[in-house]
């Protein structure tokens, strides 16, 4: 009770009702497969300071993962930024530019060595000594080698930093690689991959919460993906699964079968080979997900899916 009162007091001036906040916490605990009684503990973990420092690096990417995180609704992104974590370096949204931000990066890494969370968005170009991607006169490969090993842990947000991503698709002109692969020789700290193109922000926030709550990273599968989000296939959780079992398939876009929401297996759905929780949590505050919009899953949370899962409209 004491805790609840304290929380209520802390959150109200931020325009967050207690109900909003608890809704998020329940959702996160559901995503992570925890008992509902964990919800208050998550709330506490998210609102007690000092805020853990985060360095967010952008390499060969499209910023879609950043955009996905900006769509976080429980907690809202302003709460994440102002009250939950301290994002000390993030090129897309930080106020400063040029020399001033380089200084921030160096200072943060130095001050919090071994203590900051390093989030990486984007693949790392490695061909021709990394010259295909440069920031402030340094290659992305150099920056990654300098910053990532000094972190507490590396969270790879999205399929690019996890596995190389779209720029790593054949013939991979820039030699793009995921972080674990590109830094295999130098990286000794734990790495968590949160793939997806982009991933659902709830899975990123869930990973952060896991750390804040338990002081450790979530359990991972053999591809370093958190089991709470990537433990089952899309197919196994799909609300259209019964149509699959009944042999009821869409065979043309816009057909009667499409209007009735039949199974998309024949149209090329990669759900049976893709591990993710899209059907369960859906996107943008639970609004929809690809199969609900009548489009096959393209397998975007699997390694090398741009080559392994394409042509996308061909039946598995």
């Amino acid at each position: 009770m004491e805790l609840e009162r304290k929380l209520q007091k802390g959150l109200e001036p931020k325009g967050v009702t207690r109900r909003d906040f608890m809704k998020f916490c329940t959702m996160v605990s559901a995503t992570m497969g925890l008992a509902p009684s964990f919800a208050p503990k998550i709330a506490q973990a998210l609102s007690s300071g000092p805020r853990p420092p985060v360095v967010y690096l952008h390499f060969a990417e499209c910023t879609g993962c950043t955009e996905a995180v900006l769509r976080s609704t429980y907690p809202w992104i302003d709460e994440l930024l102002l009250e939950t974590i301290s994002v000390d370096y993030h090129e897309t949204i930080m106020a400063a530019a040029g020399h001033s931000v380089e200084e921030v990066l160096h200072q943060t890494v130095k001050k919090y060595e071994g203590k900051f969370i390093c989030v990486v968005e984007g693949g790392i170009p490695t061909a021709d000594n990394g010259i295909y991607g440069m920031i402030g006169g340094k290659t992305m490969l150099e920056i990654a080698k300098e910053v990532c090993p000094k972190s507490l842990a590396v969270l790879c947000i999205g399929s690019c930093s996890s596995f190389g991503g779209v720029q790593a698709a054949a013939p991979n002109p820039t030699g793009a690689k995921g972080v674990s692969d590109a830094l295999a020789d130098v990286l000794k700290v734990p790495v968590v991959n949160i793939p997806g193109c982009p991933p659902n922000p709830i899975n990123f926030v869930g990973t952060v919460v896991n750390y804040l709550l338990f002081g450790k990273l979530p359990d991972l599968d053999d591809k370093k993906r958190p089991l709470f989000a990537y433990g089952k296939t899309v197919h196994d959780q799909c609300p259209r699964r019964s149509h699959f079992e009944n042999g009821e398939f869409v065979k043309e876009w816009g057909s009667k079968e499409a209007q009735m929401g039949y199974c998309l297996y024949e149209m090329g759905c990669k759900g049976p080979e893709t591990y993710n929780n899209c059907p369960l949590v859906k996107f943008n505050d639970g609004t929809s997900w690809p199969v609900e919009a009548g489009h096959p899953c393209i397998g975007c949370s699997e390694p090398n899916f741009w080559d392994a899962m394409s042509p996308f409209y061909q039946k598995l």
Binding site: G64, H90, A95, A96, G133, A258
Partner: protein
């Protein structure tokens, strides 16, 4: 004696951009724009199924998400010769409209505002005065003294924590910031409010597009979301649209006018010369005749004459870019053969190619769209532009500027938003009549060529495809940010941003906030431009003042 300043990285943009300028007597005298990442999407697309292209190209950018998906789908629609059903056209327009609403709100508040708004100064504001000012310009809720007091307390707590996060090392207190503390507080409050609004606005994409970013409901020949054309989904979309428009009308537009009122001097800084617009939002299968925003080109700021656009006059130059050769090719025959040398502002200095129309650099984007529509007598645009000019008491010439560009973005947000209501209602009418068609079948040809011309939040976007043996033989993207931020061409004519920067005042070369104002007014978005910059060989690479 001129000095060189390099700003690298430019932040609050999508992608990796480096700007180098020469400053003499407190003003920029020369500028070079370099894109510093090459991803090679065009090379990756070769040999793949043309139907898959849109999923790849959409990943050109997660900020402009959807637009490269739609551009590609239109390009392949064109190549296979399919005319999409009316419902598919309306859904695509509604998703594009939602993209504009979302994109422009985020640009104004989260990418651009901090160039004009001093967040630290907001701590000194009087919340009661701020409330009075806000109520004078807008009927929006959350304008009470208590609301501003709460925001101020929240900011103060944040600053007092000593963990400044995103706001660390900003150019706070710079003499170029002109807003009184109260207006800074209002803007800071709306910065936070807009963070939430944009998440709700993006939900419009999820309703008919599965998710945002990176929608997944388009297919060549139409859309896949046949099951979503129901009253529940339409009313969900309509509700999110209405909520967004309340924000645009009662927060974004009043903020734009309030902030612009203090920066009227920027109505004569940062202008360019020529403007190109492909047009957008087809109202029927007939293009370009039916486009809501008309297609056209304006040269030498001459609004009396809008020329028709002939895609054959588009070329891409690589003389100052890190690609093989010196030639200038039309994108239908375009090549992408990277060849990095070193960053040399006299030689090659960008991964962007330099697009030219009839040999001229062209500004694209909100200002180009608004100017072309205005010059062609487009009623809603004329009314909105004249209204803003009158309110700010500035002449028409002020449109050709950093301020004009920023105002044009807000103006078109409102115009597009208003038009969306009509498209939603057309969709409802079709469904009422029993027309539920969302897809038109087609045959993939052995070989074909296709082109998709679009006008997206950042400007004119073209995709070109060549199909051979039912596979992609060649694919080229000519994107808004290469038009705006590309380097010099074969004739050494500077690109639009390079031109716009000339004459920009720089009060303190170590804190060049003025440069950011003009660069950000173009809303740079670079990942799509495909492109690196020089490593250590370059003397000025450390972007300090040299």
């Amino acid at each position: 004696m001129a000095q060189r300043i390099v700003v690298d990285p430019i932040t609050r943009i999508e992608g990796h951009l480096r700007i180098e300028v020469e400053v003499a007597n407190g003003k920029v005298t020369n500028a070079w724009s370099s894109s510093t990442l090459f991803r090679g999407l065009e090379i990756i697309l070769k040999g793949r199924d043309p139907r898959d292209a849109w999923l790849f190209t959409q990943r050109a950018c997660g900020v402009c998400t959807y637009v490269h998906g739609l551009a590609s789908i239109r390009c392949v629609d064109n190549a296979v010769g399919v005319t999409i059903p009316d419902n598919a056209r309306l859904i695509r327009n509604l998703l594009m409209g939602a993209q504009f609403l979302h994109d422009h709100i985020v640009h104004f508040y989260h990418l651009h505002a901090l160039d004009w708004v001093d967040v630290v100064s907001a701590l000194k504001a009087d919340p009661v005065k701020a409330s009075k000012i806000a109520n004078d310009v807008s009927p929006a809720p959350k304008n009470g003294p208590g609301d501003f007091k709460a925001v101020q307390a929240r900011l103060k707590k944040f600053v007092d924590s000593g963990q400044l996060g995103l706001f660390a090392n900003g150019y706070w207190g710079h003499p170029a910031y002109k807003l009184p503390p109260e207006v800074n507080l209002i803007a800071a409050a709306h910065y936070l409010e807009a963070l939430r609004q944009q998440a709700r606005t993006a939900r419009m994409h999820a309703v008919f597009g599965a998710k945002n970013p990176h929608l997944q409901s388009l297919v060549v020949g139409g859309v896949s979301c046949a099951a979503d054309l129901n009253p529940d989904r339409i009313s969900e979309f309509l509700y999110l649209w209405k909520e967004t428009m309340d924000f645009v009308n009662n927060v974004y537009i009043p903020d734009l006018l309030a902030v612009a009122g203090f920066y009227k001097d920027w109505g004569s800084i940062g202008g360019t010369t020529n403007f190109l617009c492909y047009g957008e939002f087809p109202q029927s299968a007939k293009e370009p005749e039916s486009l809501f925003f008309p297609r056209g080109a304006i040269f030498k700021r001459n609004l009396a004459k809008v020329e028709n656009v002939d895609p054959a006059k588009i070329t891409e130059h690589v003389k100052h870019s890190w690609y093989e050769g010196d030639g200038a090719l039309n994108p239908a025959q375009g090549e992408t053969k990277p060849k990095f040398t070193k960053l040399d502002t006299n030689g090659e200095y960008s991964w962007m190619k330099a697009p030219r129309y009839n040999g001229e650099p062209m500004e694209v984007g909100p200002l180009a769209r608004v100017l072309v529509a205005y010059a062609k007598g487009h009623e809603p645009t004329k009314k909105a532009v004249d209204g803003v000019l009158k309110k700010l008491a500035v002449p028409k010439e002020a449109l050709f500027s950093t301020l004009g560009r920023t105002a044009a973005r807000a103006i078109e947000t409102q115009i597009i938003g208003q038009a969306m209501e009509g498209w939603i209602m057309q969709l409802v009418e079709n469904l009422k009549k029993g027309d539920t068609k969302t897809f038109e079948p087609y045959q993939m040809p052995e070989s074909a060529q296709g082109m998709g011309l679009n006008d997206v939040p950042r400007g004119a976007l073209g995709h070109w495809i060549e199909i051979k043996e039912k596979k992609i033989a060649n694919y080229q993207l000519v994107v808004p940010s290469t038009w705006n931020l590309g380097p010099r061409c074969a004739a050494n004519k500077p690109g639009p941003v390079e031109e716009a920067l000339i004459g920009t005042p720089v009060a303190d070369p170590k804190r060049p906030v003025e440069i950011l104002r003009t660069v950000h007014s173009f809303d740079p978005c670079i990942a799509c431009g495909v492109h690196v910059i020089d490593p250590h060989s370059n003397q000025v690479y450390k972007f300090r003042v040299v």
